[in-house]
């Protein structure tokens, strides 16, 4: 066979099973686009490369398979950087293919030349610079294997223009890149874990993103129910147990409910699964769960003993570990512990605002939750709206919450929601955003209009960078430096400007009726929901403090 490098890339992506790619063409990736146009792969043209990166993330987070984004050299590649770094911190399998100037131009400060290899090095699982077409036959399958194996993550493939245009002769196509088999927990470690769990009086299961990524939510539930062990989750594991399940304590950490963080204080054993003890989850590490032993299971060996020393730990897959652990765990009602947790919850009930006030953000989110079916996908941006959504949205399924957890990237929501809707066209997708976040990738409304993806964007609009304003109120003497917007765009009109239906709950006499009509009509729309600007996210653990030192969220506060 004789093919150009560009043809090799496109054929290998097709063989890999890639159906949709997000990206933007430019000078140094035009040969790839030339080949792409005659392939069965659908290309979604975004309006900014960061949008392409997040759109691909939305697809990858829903399917669990590596998704592809593309950009040209120079600014195309630098615009992708944020989305790649975001995928690294949230362990999302992504293959980012960028064009690069020809080999003979590298190092010459050529037009649109930037050291993409150097720039992507610290924010990827691995990166490649492809100098010749023949290398693509190993690099492309290898990129998918690496992105999907073990702890998933992004792989950057920078392809010089000469590698795209030159022809290469070869005899057979390589096999598509598949994930390596996942590591199991050694038998002896499993037995020690089971013994420790069985003797624990006040254990808590601590679920991280690895539980959802490995498809372990059902096994987690089985272990929890067999031994009556309550479950807390990080932001990346929302929905690992359905909302309302009696053993589901919910989100822990900086904005976790009071009773959850207080329960952690009394635990004698924490079983952390697919979690990395992020500071937003555990607060001050030295004061985290002072009375508890730690069992730590994570597929990434370098996470073990990084923050919290585990008394028993294993570099293993969460699903394989839970499956092997289940028969070793003794049935136990743990009546005293569960009664104690119920008492803590009764003493520290979650505070809800007036459900009829549609300018209360939590009331709007709960209303959305009541209107949406269980299979709805919820994407958020980053800020107060993200934390309120994590606190009160009734997640019924694992993996239905798409959010930028580790990097905390404003602008994530809209393109990720479009990607999710394209990957799961039968499921409704809601993007809950804020008026700050939505403006960080608002140009993707054009992509939404073009794809007609079933995404409803709800903008909780408080005229501020709300979480910044909140921190300034609480920790910076109420000096609101640069956190208030003077220009307040009319988002409903803006939506119509892009050819999308736009609604405004603020100008309607019956906001509930408008919200219901908008959410239940198929197809995309934008809903502006003005909220009280002074509402804060409570409780809140001050940055650097212990999780027991929560501000707010108490009765009579």
């Amino acid at each position: 066979m004789k093919k150009t490098g560009a043809q090799i890339i496109v054929e290998l992506l097709t063989r890999q099973g890639v159906k949709t790619i997000a990206g933007i063409p430019g000078g140094c990736n035009l040969p790839i686009y030339h080949a792409l146009a005659e392939s069965p792969i659908r290309h979604v043209l975004t309006r900014h490369e960061q949008g392409a990166g997040f759109l691909a993330q939305g697809m990858a987070r829903i399917t669990g398979k590596a998704a592809v984004c593309m950009a040209t050299s120079g600014p195309g590649a630098t615009n992708l950087i944020t989305a790649i770094a975001d995928a690294k911190l949230d362990s999302v399998p992504l293959v980012a293919i960028t064009g690069q100037v020809s080999c003979d131009m590298i190092g010459a400060d050529a037009f649109q030349e930037v050291d993409t290899y150097g720039l992507t090095l610290p924010i990827t699982k691995h990166n490649f610079l492809v100098r010749h077409a023949s290398e693509l036959l190993t690099v492309i399958p290898e990129a998918f294997r690496i992105a999907q194996s073990g702890r998933p993550g992004p792989v950057a493939v920078d392809v010089t223009k000469n590698a795209q245009t030159e022809t290469c002769e070869f005899t057979a196509w390589p096999e598509p890149g598949e994930a390596d088999g996942n590591p199991e927990c050694p038998r002896e470690t499993l037995e020690r874990m089971a013994a420790r769990i069985n003797e624990a009086k006040r254990p808590i299961l601590y679920a991280g993103g690895g539980v959802c990524a490995s498809g372990a939510a059902g096994l987690l539930r089985a272990v929890a129910e067999k031994a009556s062990i309550p479950v807390v989750n990080t932001l990346m594991a929302m929905g690992c147990l359905p909302h309302g399940h009696p053993l589901n304590l919910g989100l822990l950490g900086m904005h976790g409910a009071r009773h959850v963080n207080l329960a952690m204080e009394e635990a004698d054993l924490i079983v952390a699964l697919g979690a990395r003890f992020d500071d937003r989850a555990i607060g001050k590490a030295a004061a985290f769960c002072p009375g508890a032993d730690i069992i730590h299971v994570d597929i990434d060996r370098s996470e073990l003993d990084k923050i919290m020393p585990g008394s028993i730990s294993a570099a293993a897959d969460a699903a394989l570990t839970l499956a092997a652990l289940l028969p070793l765990i003794k049935e136990d009602k743990r009546l005293a512990w569960n009664a104690r947790l119920a008492a803590i919850r009764a003493e520290n009930p979650v505070q809800y605002p007036n459900q009829l006030d549609m300018r209360e953000p939590i009331s709007v989110i709960r209303r959305i939750g009541a209107l949406m079916p269980e299979d709805a996908i919820i994407a958020t941006d980053v800020g107060q709206h993200q934390m309120w959504t994590a606190q009160v949205y009734p997640f019924a399924r694992p993996g239905s919450f798409l959010t930028s957890g580790g990097l905390g990237t404003m602008g994530f929501g809209l393109p990720a929601a479009i990607g999710a809707a394209l990957a799961a066209p039968s499921r409704p997708v809601i993007c809950i955003s804020g008026d700050g976040s939505i403006q960080m990738n608002i140009q993707e409304l054009a992509t939404l209009a073009e794809t007609h993806a079933n995404v409803k964007v709800v903008i909780l609009n408080n005229g501020h960078l709300g979480l910044v304003r909140q921190q300034q109120e609480l920790f910076y003497e109420g000096r609101y430096a640069a956190s208030r917007f003077e220009c307040r765009p009319d988002f409903a009109a803006l939506a119509r400007g892009y050819g999308l239906p736009g609604f405004d709950l603020g100008t309607s006499s019956d906001p509930e009726k408008i919200l219901k009509a908008a959410l239940t009509t198929p197809g995309p729309c934008i809903i502006n929901a003005p909220i009280h600007p002074e509402v804060n996210v409570y409780p809140m653990v001050p940055p650097g403090a212990a999780n027991s030192e929560m501000i707010g969220g108490k009765i009579h506060v």
Binding site: Y117, G118, L121, K125, H126, L129, R301, S302, D305, K306
Partner: protein, 99 residues
Amino acid sequence: MSETVIELTVRNHPGVMSHITGLFARRAYNLEGILCGALPGGEHSRMYLLVTADQRLGLVMRNLEKLYDVLDVRLRDDCDGSAFAHLDELVAASSRRAA
């Protein structure tokens, strides 16, 4: 704090050194010395890293093991850094020339 030597076998290509040094920079772990040379055949290289053996050594080793281009990681606690002695002499000679 005692010094120790990490021995790496790596793929020999431009960029591998950035991966190694980048890891140390990102994790704020100081690299006291580097010796590197191609192994026979030229496909692989051997690197010796002189580091301070503090409590983060294990974490750094586990992160090195994750690097795609790193094929083998060993702690050479039988080395005391004397392999770097000639490096010291070179540094001293440079200082004398500068003075």
